[in-house]
């Protein structure tokens, strides 16, 4: 092996520049920490986004696919998810998975932090909703939030930066269906611009939010936090893959070992390390960073690293809205409506916790045909019936943690540098099955009420592993958790974890605003209580 180049020491290394890494890098740079964010992927030039190409449908299913196993870009590590009922998706580049996300940003409910006390399941978080609230607000300011205050299903919140993204004719129809059933609905908070915001343009409703746009209408951290962090002196070191967090004999971290852009090994010394590599990448790196002071892998004296993997469980129903004035592919793919009628635990049901309904729009011609339209004589009739009329109501369910659901290092599969790949072992739990069965029935009811035809039920969506949580959980007890309430490792006080790995439970909403709020809170802790890490 070539000799290792040692770089100039810095205060903090952040590993990963996605939703959480970008937020932490910005916050630390703002307080003059010397911070370098090491990212295995490149910058993505917005001009190359698939939405700028007439070939977008093909790109969406090849090099812009959500799955790293399909894309196989140089920076993608393969994920062995053969033993997982839900398949993992993510993006590896500056901006991380926010390059692909649909930017729905509902918040956790206060009850989500107290599920043990309230419902006797899983564990309580060591923090409350109100500990996070100021960071949710700061994050909305940085990313830009469209929405409206006053939702009766959630605590009041500060005014949103922009009015809600318009609902469209299909959204209005669904909203009235919820109204007719007497069920809750509300425009979901969304990090999509409804008007121009901080130099980024308003959304023009092309539909393919997951493919991103050159307008910058949908926030991703490469165009929000990161440019601001760079202006403040933060460094983003791209195409650099961390393979080990280094530690000394007393167990403290001393920096990171990584392969640079040329594939050569380098060591970046630092006073502290923040890991933000997501709920799969983080346990992978911790498990791979074994040393004499951390023989089970870094920060793993509890043996909880990699355990308690949570996705969210998804199920629902699809139907056709035949009499709308405009096609259902007008507007962001994830329609800006949520219903939390069945969010909180109800003792009359046979499951604990609950779910949020979200709505998926129709898409362009090829995505409409693929998967749903048969080949042969009925092809055209079936295509015509669906195109521009399909609508899906999906439930995103609280997926309670179980130790058997986990991330391990694969004994055979590796990335391009020979670093072991993650192996995912996951099956849907009993509570989730009951929750989903309930959700599917209610989804069909809403679609019927909306006047939809051809309603079909979907008992479980499987290519939906986009929320990666729980694999380095937070807690007060070092024997049962990996980090404390500030995201600081119990086993190494200058190591911090800020991505979805630290979640104690997953709640029934998309996780990213909570991930980013936690990251900002950890950064604040370092800024105020760990001045010793600043040189």
């Amino acid at each position: 092996m070539a000799s290792i180049t040692v770089r100039e020491p810095v205060d903090i290394v952040v590993v990963g520049s996605g939703a959480s890494g970008a937020a932490v890098t910005w916050s630390l740079a703002e307080d003059d920490f010397k911070v370098v964010c090491i990212e295995q992927g490149p910058w993505v030039d917005p001009k190359t986004y698939a939405t700028n190409s007439p070939d977008w449908q093909y790109l969406q299913r090849t090099k812009w696919d959500y799955s790293p196993n399909v894309r196989k870009l140089p920076q993608d590590y393969p994920v062995n998810d053969d033993e997982s009922q839900i398949k993992v998706v993510m993006y590896n580049a500056v901006g991380g998975s926010t390059i692909h996300w649909t930017a729905h940003v509902p918040r956790f409910h206060p009850s989500d932090f107290r599920v043990k006390t309230l419902d006797g399941v899983a564990d309580d978080w060591p923090i409350s909703y109100f500990d996070l609230e100021p960071y949710y607000d700061l994050n909305d300011e940085m990313m830009g939030c469209s929405g409206i205050n006053g939702d009766p299903a959630n605590p009041p919140r500060s005014p949103r930066q922009m009015p809600p993204v318009p609902l469209g004719h299909d959204g209005e129809r669904m909203a009235r269906a919820f109204d007719n059933l007497g069920w809750h609905w509300w425009p979901s908070d969304s990090h999509i611009n409804s008007i121009d915001y901080k130099g980024r343009k308003a959304c023009n409703f092309c539909g393919a939010v997951g493919l991103n746009c050159e307008r910058g209408a949908r926030a991703s951290t490469d165009i929000t936090y990161i440019p601001d962090a760079v202006k403040l002196g933060g460094e983003i070191r791209t195409n650099s893959t961390v393979y080990e967090i280094a530690t000394n004999s007393s167990g403290k971290v001393t920096g990171v070992n990584y392969y640079n852009e040329q594939g050569e090994p380098e060591f970046q010394p630092s006073n502290g390390v923040v890991i933000a590599a997501n709920g799969i990448g983080t346990p992978r790196m911790l498990l791979h960073s074994k040393s004499t002071s951390h023989p089970n892998g870094l920060a793993n004296s509890s043996c909880m690293v990699g355990k308690n993997l949570m996705f969210h469980v998804y199920a629902g129903a699809n139907g056709l809205l035949n009499d709308l004035p405009t096609p259902t592919y007008h507007g962001p793919l994830a329609l800006i409506i949520m219903s939390q009628e069945f969010y909180e635990t109800d003792p009359s049901r046979d499951f604990k916790r609950g779910y949020t309904f979200q709505i998926g729009r129709g898409q362009g011609p090829a995505p409409t045909a693929i998967g749903d339209v048969p080949w042969g004589d009925n092809h055209h009739a079936e295509f015509n019936r669906r195109f521009g009329k399909n609508i899906g109501l999906g439930a995103i369910g609280d997926d309670l943690p179980e130790e058997v659901n986990r991330v391990e290092l694969d004994p055979h599969l590796t990335d391009r540098y020979g670093i072991p790949s993650p192996k995912i072992i996951y099956r849907v739990g009993e509570n989730s099955k009951k929750l989903l069965a309930h959700a599917v029935d209610q989804a069909a009811k809403v679609l019927e009420t909306a006047g939809a035809t051809n309603i079909t039920r979907n008992a479980l969506s499987t290519n939906t592993g986009w929320h990666l949580m729980g694999t380095a959980r937070m807690g007060d007890d070092p024997e049962r958790s990996v980090v404390n309430k500030f995201g600081q490792a119990h086993d190494a006080d200058n190591l911090f974890i800020v991505d979805g790995s630290v979640f104690v439970t997953g709640a029934g909403v998309n996780p990213t605003p909570t991930i980013q709020a936690l990251a900002l809170r950890t950064a604040d802790y370092i800024r105020h209580d760990r001045m010793d890490l600043k040189s």
Binding site: N52, Q57, S194, H330
Partner: protein
Amino acid sequence: MTSLHPNSALQKSVLDRIIPPVADLPGAGGLGIENELERMSTEHHKFSDILFSAIESIQSRLGEDTVTVENLNKAISGFESVEPIPFALLLELVYLAYYSDPRVHNRIGWKTGPLQPEGHPLPPWEESILAKVKNRAPFWTEVD
């Protein structure tokens, strides 16, 4: 090395069976999308070889049978039930190539070209739609 099958007549018939002609448009076999299929097969590993091996498999299922609609349906269905994953990939590839063609877009009323910069129109946000749900009392669970 091409991804197309040397038996181009059979390939055309199979493609026409998957997406038959409609109105004034030929099916996927007659539309002239071979170059597109070839490009899509070679540009990304996901589809490499799929067209060739699918036609190969369908050909062997046909055996000495004449290429009639009925025999093709049987051979394609046989391939679909025995090798569902390659079959799904074949379908994905053919649908992608067919539904990327401007003539098809024209027929179904889809605007050809990139999604940006034009986007689509949506009626503006109207707060009055919240009238009913706004009247509901807060129902989130309060905790300490």
